[in-house]
């Protein structure tokens, strides 16, 4: 019996590794209420596995080497590293209390984590898994992003309604820019010249010129038949070709498509309920959205600007990441 079990296990291992080598790309969705990450095959859109993780998983990031996924498990007060080959949690990293969202330095060595309950940003050294520094910021820090050159960190604070620009080398605050109420998410343009900041309660997107730290434009939204109060801007993804900005509008159940040059809203795409965070496929041709209330993921064709499909995932999906 024991030898049979051993043989069985060995066979299973080989199977897992074989599958790992041949597998297609996958989507990883954090389910805030289920304490799981749903893994979806990007080709078939079938669920491959539901991975148990720590309490209240929210922010997700793919490691630079694409071999693992970092998960903010907010109520567990740490970050978990999910190994993509085995689809299991292999390690935990320090994060400071209540980690919600985070950003990865371009060299892949550092995580910048917003600690929503503690008015600070924690800097985590990935190799050691330890916090190397903490930066005080505004009330309820939320959005985190690093500039393409890695020199500037931007953090948004929800009750303070600001985007804070922090020097990545000295950890000193360079500037704080007032934006719309309850800023949720920040995204750099590819050239690093602009930061787009979404405001959930303000229901708009502020475009900040990085050189002057000034808001140069505010994108507002109006959808016929949808009450203005339900238009709450959250996730932002700028298309790799620099042409489009996609903004998730929360309980308006839509993703706004914005011409990144003119800032004009071109289209509203109807997706699932309470859409928050999104991610592109590696080729930039497909966009995926996590819809918190309808418990599904929408698939958007970026070329046609059409919603192709919705895929049921776990309860209260918060974020989605495209990976191998």
């Amino acid at each position: 019996m024991p030898s049979q079990l051993k043989r069985g296990l060995a066979a299973l291992c080989c199977l897992v590794f074989a599958a790992g080598a041949a597998r297609a790309d996958h989507l990883y969705v954090s389910n805030e209420k289920d304490n799981t990450v749903t893994v979806v095959d990007a080709a078939t859109l079938a669920i491959v596995k539901t991975v148990p993780v720590g309490a209240r998983p929210r922010g997700l990031l793919l490691a630079k080497d694409r071999k693992s996924l970092y998960v903010c498990t907010s109520d567990a007060d740490h970050i978990e590293e999910l190994d993509i080959a085995t689809l299991s949690v292999t390690r935990t990293l320090q994060s400071g209390p209540d980690p919600e969202t985070f950003a990865l330095s371009p060299d892949g060595k550092t995580l910048y984590v917003s600690n929503e309950d503690d008015n600070q940003v924690s800097i985590v050294d990935i190799a050691s898994g330890r916090i190397s520094d903490e930066i005080p910021t505004g009330v309820e820090p939320e959005g985190m992003v690093v500039s393409p050159d890695g020199k500037t960190i931007v953090n948004t604070s929800e009750t303070t309604s600001m985007a804070h620009f922090i020097d990545a080398a000295s950890h000193k605050m360079i500037a704080s820019v007032l934006v719309g109420s309850r800023p949720r998410f920040a995204a750099f343009t590819k050239d690093g010249g602009q930061v787009w900041v979404s405001s959930e309660v303000g229901g708009n997107v502020s475009i900040i010129d990085v050189a002057s730290h000034k808001v140069i434009h505010t994108i507002t939204f109006a959808i016929p038949g949808v009450p203005a109060e339900t238009i709450q801007a959250v996730g932002i993804n700028l298309s790799p070709d620099g042409k489009w900005g996609f903004v998730a509008l929360g309980p308006a159940n839509r993703v706004a498509v914005i011409d990144a040059a003119s800032f004009a809203v071109k289209k509203y795409l109807l997706v699932g309920q309470r859409v928050w965070h999104m991610d592109f496929s590696f080729d930039g041709k497909t966009l995926y959205t996590a819809n918190g209330v309808s418990n599904d993921m929408s698939v958007i064709d970026v070329g046609d600007l059409k919603v192709l499909k919705s895929v049921p995932v776990g309860h209260l999906p918060w974020g989605v990441v495209y990976g191998p």
Binding site: G138, S157, E158, S161, M162, A175, S176, E200, G202
Partner: protein, 415 residues
């Protein structure tokens, strides 16, 4: 539903505020001068917010489970002050809270005059409606802004409205409308109304009557509760109460028992005791309210946690009112980057003003009566049941304006 604290001396109150703000303030940022928002216009003098409260001794609530906190209201103001100052560090603005808790009306008026004389113009009030009007009508108060943090009196939003007064908590009309909209959605069209004997209970019951008519809910029985509250505290008092509730609810069929008991004298003793098995709503049971400890949506968890850490107890509706009032003043000062009372006052009333108060949407003041428009929670003691306005109650401008008195019906003339 709303019980007033046994308020104590100013010295204690001030002591409560300080640790609350210190605990939540981050260390000063490295170089606030480099912040683009911090221009030379940054106020060197701090922006003073005077918190004016009348110490009112009320009877203890019927349930011993919820003793009124001594620092109710003021503790919320303390957390909001810390929030203002965290942002203020980045904009080069400094806010201070000057709490005044006076034992009588004369004391509140004297303190108000004193602070006006010293140049203060931003006030947050926790006083009864009659006293609020005395303050607002003082000739010196014309240039001041008084944000009423705790009063739900509809008269203050009608004939009793004042140009220098704003209200942050929902009026009784808004509370009643929130409940009635929910009854429409549930198709619970027949209610029994049971009102206590205090003046505030009568106002609450009046609001329910008006709202029922507006939403075509039929009041099949409208009764007054006159049982002596002291008797139910006696040993075996529960027998008496049980019989009394069964008697008063006898011979009438209804979907929901709506209670008007703002001081918590009897409302908690109706459930399970009526003749028919019917739920209770109003000031007890399913309660329309601006804040509840069960509420954790749209980021509310952050405020609940922040308050719990600062005050070592749960946030009440009055604490939330004071928090909104101090935050509203802070928001106006920060957005205008000004400490000028005229600029702050004008911005508060402008369409640009928006308060993020954990309700998932921007809140603003109604131009016609100074009321903060907002969604209203419907919660029992253990769970959030719903949030009004209910889906389907539409409005040309703001769906939240389906709650309370809308502009065409308003009898407030602020000209």
């Amino acid at each position: 539903m709303v019980f007033r604290a046994l308020r104590i001396a100013l010295v204690f109150a001030a002591a409560v505020v300080r640790p609350a703000s210190a605990a939540d303030q981050p260390p000063a940022p490295a170089s606030p001068a480099a912040t683009p928002a911090a221009t030379s216009a940054a106020s060197a003098t701090p922006i003073a917010i005077v918190y004016l409260a009348l110490a009112v001794k009320r009877s203890l609530p019927e349930s011993y489970l919820d003793q009124p906190p001594a620092d109710e209201g003021l503790a919320g103001a303390g957390v909001a002050l810390a929030d203002n100052n965290t942002t203020g560090h980045f904009t080069g603005q400094d806010f201070i809270l000057d709490p005044v808790v006076a034992p009588d009306e004369a004391g509140v008026i004297a303190a108000f005059r004193d602070r006006l004389g010293k140049g203060a113009r931003e006030f947050v009030t926790d006083v009864p409606a009659s006293l609020l009007l005395k303050l607002a009508d003082l000739p010196d108060a014309r240039a001041a802004t008084l944000i009423d943090a705790t009063d739900a009196d509809d008269r203050l939003r009608a004939e009793g409205c004042r140009r220098n007064v704003l209200h942050v908590l929902p009026s009784r009309a808004m509370l009643a409308d929130s409940l009635m909209q929910y009854l429409v959605v549930k198709s619970w069209r027949r209610i029994m109304l049971l009102a206590g004997q205090t003046a505030d209970d009568k106002l609450y019951a009046d609001a329910v009557r008006r709202s029922a008519k507006k939403f075509q809910i039929k009041i099949v029985a409208d009764k007054m509760w006159s049982f002596n509250p002291a008797e139910q505290r006696a040993d075996t008092g529960h027998f008496e109460v049980n019989t009394e509730v069964a008697n008063i609810t006898q011979g009438v069929d209804y979907d929901l028992l709506v209670v008007a008991d703002e001081e918590d004298n009897f409302g908690d003793e109706l459930g399970y005791r009526a003749t028919l098995a019917r739920p209770v709503a109003g000031t007890q049971g399913l309660v329309p309210t601006a804040w509840s400890r069960v509420y954790d949506e749209t980021g509310a968890t952050q405020l609940q946690n922040r308050f719990l850490r600062a005050a070592h107890r749960w946030m009440t509706e009055r604490d939330y009112g004071a928090w909104m009032a101090v935050r509203a003043l802070g928001e106006a000062a920060i957005r205008t980057h000004s400490g000028d009372p005229a600029v702050i006052g004008a911005y508060l009333r402008s369409p640009k003003f928006e308060l993020a108060a954990f309700k998932g949407e921007r809140l603003s003041f109604r131009a016609w009566d100074g009321q903060l428009r907002q969604p209203v929670l419907l919660a029992d003691s253990r769970s959030l049941v719903s949030i009004s306005p209910q889906p389907g109650f539409l409005h040309e401008f703001f769906e939240t304006d389906t709650l309370g008195v809308d502009q065409p019906e308003s009898t407030c003339h602020l000209n």
